[in-house]
């Protein structure tokens, strides 16, 4: 069983596996779009993830803000109260970028038992 197949949430699991298929099929940009949508939907369904922090240079730092900034960038200001969103600053993504977004989302889902 792959790590993505261990995700409990059937919808998230299905979308992540679909994204992986797009990567293998030569469409990393499509994979990034699907992963970004899945990430934002996950944050909407599980707003408690926004509260999770780690410590960086002595200060609390949101774990979700570790979402890679390769051009599908997370916009998230906890103080403003707006829901998090992804800003796409470019359309084309490389395979290694798509793989990194994929690994991030799978790790987040498994670490949080989603």
């Amino acid at each position: 069983m792959t790590r993505a197949e261990k995700i409990n949430d059937p919808e998230l699991r299905s979308r992540v596996i679909d994204a992986y298929g797009r990567m293998r099929g030569g469409d990393p940009s499509g994979a990034v779009r699907l992963l970004a949508d899945s990430f934002i939907d996950t944050l909407r369904v599980h707003p408690e993830l926004l509260e999770l922090t780690t410590t960086v240079r002595g200060r609390p730092f949101p774990i979700v803000a570790r979402w890679p900034s390769f051009g599908a960038n997370l916009v998230f200001d906890p103080d403003a109260g707006d829901p998090p969103r992804i800003d796409f600053v470019r359309d084309r993504f490389a395979l290694s970028e798509a793989l990194t977004y994929f690994e991030f989302l799978v790790d987040l889902a498994l670490d949080q038992g989603l």
Binding site: R24, R90, L95, S96, D107
Partner: protein
């Protein structure tokens, strides 16, 4: 498990000084030549050298291909590793990378390890006009094409997102076919998994513990076997981990000689890679070593009162570790002393890595203001008292373990591990 040495060519400024002694850079370059020559004679397997630009004090290694060329003529067996070449085209045109790697492979008789990466310091990205959000895409495009250039006769040309060139025969070609083994710098777990999927060895800058390594190793090999779509024309499955290193007659003496090397290594790394201090760095006007020395001693050394008495245990280190992966790597670089101590202590500590099937342990000896004679003695002690038994087990136990895993891989392999 095999062993390598790792070089940033660190050069802290003298306390209170605006610049270095005029002979300082010449001195550390020639000391490195002597150290690697000794390591080669003693049977060390690899030397890895970084490519960094403008990171004064932290790394004066901006032209590793020249150091490697010099080493190719002073050594016989040790593998010459770029750890790593910056491949986004604004740093180095891909054709120039292919030419240099191939030329070095010829000069060294096929001993090159081709590590690649993109760096993330503002000093380097800004210095060469590399857009941060694009650097990984640039790395991938350029690295893939460098591999293509080394195998294609002629190279058919390329119209890419980040560089283009017409058809040319990029010569010379490397001795190792289809090309030297591929590595990528990986400071986070996810990058190691990307490495597996692209068929590259992971040069781990996360100072991973043996237990972490064990988990990563299992997943890494599963990905290599089941989900690999190679960036090059031959894969190089492998995991390497960095560890700071100093061997001496007693644990206490090793800690004393280790001095502030690991602490400065971590501090100066954090300084340049922090968006706060790194972006605000005033070139030529800061004494980073003075800033480091102004820290409270427990932050500087990381061992506090334990220094005089003994090494920190793995449990003691783990109890204080930050949860964030990058911060944890810096913490470990400064404080964990898995390869600091007597050769008995070191052998016991690093055996745990061997038990978890680590391929290469890369030792950071040259850091901070450590003394050349202490580094030479460390290499000598390790090479004569630790290395032989691990080398023997590498052949008798680890190589068959790898071959079993590789038997499930249906891709061309070029690996020196």
């Amino acid at each position: 498990m095999k062993f390598g040495l790792f070089y940033e060519l660190q050069l802290p400024k003298p306390p209170g000084a605006d610049t270095w002694d005029p002979d300082a850079e010449r001195r550390i370059y020639h000391e490195m030549l002597d150290q690697v020559e000794l390591a080669d004679k003693l049977g060390f397997d690899y030397v890895f050298e970084v490519e960094h630009h403008f990171l004064e004090e932290y790394s004066h290694s901006s032209a590793p291909e020249l150091m490697m060329a010099a080493l190719s003529q002073r050594t016989k067996r040790i593998r010459l590793g770029h750890g790593i070449v910056l491949t986004p085209p604004r740093y180095n045109h891909p054709a120039r990378v292919a030419e240099r790697i191939s030329a070095l492979d010829i000069l060294s008789g096929g001993r090159v390890e081709f590590g690649s990466g993109e760096s993330s310091s503002d000093m380097e990205l800004g210095g060469f006009g590399v857009e941060r959000s694009m650097k990984k895409a640039m790395w991938e495009e350029a690295t893939r094409e460098v591999c293509n250039m080394m195998v294609s006769e002629p190279y058919g040309g390329f119209e890419g997102e980040f560089f283009s060139m017409p058809a040319r025969n990029v010569v010379p070609k490397p001795v190792q076919r289809p090309h030297p083994p591929l590595w990528v710098a990986a400071s986070r777990r996810e990058t190691t998994m990307v490495a597996a999927r692209l068929g590259m060895a992971s040069l781990g800058f996360g100072f991973e513990t043996p237990d972490e390594l064990g988990e990563r190793c299992e997943e890494y090999w599963r990905l290599v076997q089941e989900e690999c779509f190679p960036i090059g024309h031959a894969i190089n499955p492998g995991l390497a981990v960095l560890s700071t290193f100093m061997a001496a007659e007693t644990d206490e003496e090793a800690v004393r000689r280790s001095a502030n090397g690991p602490g400065f290594f971590a501090y100066s790394l954090g300084y340049y890679y922090s968006p706060v201090t790194g972006a605000a760095h005033q070139p030529g006007k800061v004494n980073i070593y003075d800033r480091f020395n102004a820290l409270p001693s427990e932050q500087r050394d990381g061992r506090g009162p334990l220094v005089a008495a003994r090494l920190m245990s793995r449990e003691e280190i783990a109890a204080e570790e930050p949860t964030d992966e990058v911060q944890r790597a810096l913490f470990r670089a400064a404080r964990s002393g898995q390869a600091i101590g007597t050769t008995d202590t070191i052998a016991k500590n690093i055996k745990a890595y061997e038990d978890h099937h680590l391929d290469v342990l890369v030792l950071v000896a040259q850091c901070g203001d450590r003394k050349h004679e202490h580094i030479m003695e460390s290499i000598e002690r390790f090479g004569t008292e630790v290395l032989p038994e691990f080398k023997e087990r590498h052949e008798s136990e680890h190589r068959p373990w790898r071959e079993k895993r590789l038997s499930a891989v249906d891709l061309p392999v070029n690996s020196s591990i």
